[in-house]
């Protein structure tokens, strides 16, 4: 099912930010990961119960590049300001992968702006025994098998010789490099995760080859009272592969 998105633009502290929205109901924010190539139709079930807002991070998709955004804290401040601009009081927040890193960091500081939190295969922790794959070592045209167990769920693969594909991948890798070239984790995050005080659900694909599901044990230990739901067979793009994972998020948030 494809979603009819409405696009609006907000200027957040000087940064043009495109926000897609669809659906009706209580406000739900979805913070995407480090790639925007695959589309967002997998969110369709959530638009039936929620007003889903999908902002493009600065440096991704329809939002402007902003070279000064070099830490996750820059994104925390960006989204705090966006929530104010959009006059959204409290929201449900779903963060995927890199977006989960932003969302968990945001929640350690601003749980009062959240109703519930869902972290889907979040980046941001260093779990030495189960390290996150270094995305910069993977060629953009070779990344697909790392993303999913069921590649068919991702739709037709991009043409690796297509210049627009190459340039867009380079742009988004550049935005990621600004915050994560040295490391795609924050060694201080574990120290503050106990500050997350809203109900929190972790969602993971059992066969995640980018951020191993084994990292979930560390997360659920540090975020008090949090729950975990895993899906199998599913890789990093568990939401694309498993409609039941999206359904589980909807049920958790609605409960």
């Amino acid at each position: 099912m494809s979603i009819e998105w409405k696009a609006e633009e907000h200027t957040v502290n000087g940064v043009k930010t495109q926000v897609l929205s669809a659906g009706k109901g209580e406000p739900l924010m979805f913070w995407h990961g480090a790639g925007t190539g695959g589309g967002w139709d997998f969110l369709a079930p959530l638009t039936e119960k929620f007003k889903v807002y999908l902002p493009y991070h600065p440096g991704w998709g329809g939002s402007a590049d902003e070279t000064s955004m070099t830490t996750t804290q820059d994104f925390v401040m960006h989204y705090l300001e966006l929530l104010d601009l959009m006059k959204l009081g409290k929201v449900d927040l779903v963060g995927f992968s890199m977006g989960g890193w932003f969302a968990s960091t945001f929640a350690t500081q601003h749980s009062e702006r959240l109703k519930k939190l869902v972290l889907v295969a979040p980046a941001g922790l260093r779990v030495k025994e189960h390290p996150t794959l270094d995305l910069f070592k993977i060629k953009p045209e070779e990344i697909a098998p790392y993303l999913a167990e069921n590649l068919a769920a991702l739709g037709p693969p991009p043409d690796p010789t297509d210049i627009d594909f190459i340039v867009n991948a380079y742009r988004e890798q550049t935005s990621l490099a600004r915050i994560a070239w040295e490391r795609i984790y924050d060694s201080k995050l574990p120290k503050y995760l106990h500050r997350i005080t809203v109900p929190t659900l972790f969602v993971w694909g059992k066969q995640d080859r980018i951020i191993p599901e084994a990292q979930s044990a560390t997360w659920t230990k540090l975020v008090k009272g949090s729950k975990l739901q895993t899906f199998s067979p599913a890789g990093h793009l568990v939401l694309n592969e498993k409609p039941e994972a999206v359904k589980a998020i909807g049920e958790f948030l609605a409960a």
């Binding site: 070279t67 070099t70 910069f136 060629k139 210049i163 190459i166 340039v167 867009n168 380079y170 742009r171 890798q173 550049t174 990621l176 490099a177 600004r178 070239w181 040295e182």
Partner: protein, 396 residues
């Protein structure tokens, strides 16, 4: 205005490749970044260092004005990952030639330590140092712990620190985004005042030309055809006065791969395979390694993606037509180089005499013939004023 012949100087540039590659080397996409160092044999490396240093010493004896070196990492392309060590080794073995360190990528070193290292070389050599400040190829950023997405901003700050260290008596302090110094006070300070001559070296990107123009520095283009070098110098001539600097012919440093022999046929026969090694093997790497994330803008990447690969391709016709390689009799080589110098008003010729995996005897032959037969022809070539300067329009 000074013309190119008033202060004509010849530098020989030695990349010091590691040439002993395994038989299956062609199967690797890149001989940079991830080509395993298990393929390095220290005994062969030692022999190459001895030989390459001897070639630079010969260049000094032959009267070359400068001995140019550079630095690369994780690659067979260069045995000089710490190029200042090679420069130091050459100082006591040479007498007159300038030691041209072209150079340490500024971002890979703390700028105060670079100020120290270069000052040491300048004082040790009694003021024979010249330097160039490269951003470093994209490949260096895969090999070192420096973020390519902020490389250009970091470079500008590092340059500021370096110049402050050399132009102001210490201790001073510096508060920046990338560097901060409580006591910037490096000892020693350079012999040449306020500092050795500085060039910017790059592939002609707008940003690097801009830095050279702003500071009035020389510019040296590498890895690009002659016509592109000419365009770069034209841009430099145009931009420099805007910042209150005068363009002088020594600020346009031409780069050319040259081979001189008795006849054009002998020259081609003797150099071709080594030129092939240079373009096909020594420089072979991937588009991804050339442009790590953020090293260039997305729009520049679009242009690069549309253009033909600059690394790892060998097309003899194209190379000779674009004049990336100049080979032949002394007369032919002198005429070709002379035309370029006239056209670009350039008085600095940076010649690659050691090409690819060329054996020692050919390097000696090439270097000697160039010094004894080509340089005198260029020095006595009719002044541009006496004969109208040909343009580069003829070169494709």
């Amino acid at each position: 205005m000074a013309t190119w012949q008033d202060d004509l100087q010849f530098y020989t540039f030695h990349f010091m490749h590691y040439t002993d590659l395994p038989a299956d080397q062609k199967k690797y996409d890149s001989l940079w970044v991830d080509f395993s160092n298990k393929n390095f044999d220290a005994k062969k490396g030692h022999a190459l260092y001895q030989r390459y240093m001897a070639e630079m010493v010969l260049a000094d004896r032959l009267g070359y004005d400068g001995l140019a070196l550079n630095e690369h990492h994780n690659t067979v392309y260069s045995l000089n990952p710490v190029v200042t060590i090679m420069a130091a080794a050459l100082i006591p073995q040479t007498k007159n030639a300038k030691i041209c360190v072209f150079g340490v990528p500024l971002n890979l070193e703390m700028p105060n330590r670079l100020a120290e290292a270069y000052a040491m070389l300048d004082v040790m050599s009694n003021g024979r140092l010249e330097i160039a400040l490269p951003l470093g190829t994209g490949m260096e950023y895969w090999a070192n712990s420096i973020n390519p997405a902020v490389a250009r901003a970091r470079f500008r700050e590092g340059l500021e620190v370096l110049l402050q260290a050399w132009t102001q008596d210490g201790p001073t302090s510096y508060d920046g985004e990338f560097y901060s110094y409580r006591y910037l006070n490096p000892w020693p300070k350079p012999m040449q005042k306020p500092h050795p001559k500085i060039a910017i070296v790059g592939t002609g990107s707008p940003e690097t030309i801009q830095i050279a123009a702003e500071h009035g520095y020389a510019y040296s283009s590498v890895f690009v055809p002659i016509v592109a070098q000419e365009k770069t110098f034209a841009k430099l001539r145009e931009e420099m006065p805007k910042y209150g600097h005068e363009f002088t012919p020594d600020k346009a440093i031409f780069n050319a791969i040259v081979y001189v022999a008795e006849t054009d046929e002998i020259a081609e026969r003797e150099c071709k395979e080594h030129v092939q090694f240079f373009f096909e093997d020594a420089t072979r790497t991937t588009a991804r390694y050339l442009s790590p994330p953020g090293y260039i803008s997305a729009e520049q990447l679009r242009m690069r993606a549309a253009a033909t690969a600059s690394h790892g391709g060998f097309d003899w016709e194209a190379l000779t037509q674009q004049w990336r390689v100049v080979f032949g009799t002394p007369e032919k080589v002198a005429n070709t180089l002379g035309k370029w110098c006239e056209s670009a008003n350039s008085s600095r010729v940076l010649v690659h005499h050691h090409i690819g995996d060329m054996p020692h005897w050919k390097v000696v032959k090439n270097m000697t013939l160039f010094a004894e037969e080509v340089i005198p022809r260029l020095r006595t070539r009719k002044k541009a004023a006496a004969a109208p300067a040909p343009t580069l329009q003829g070169a494709k």
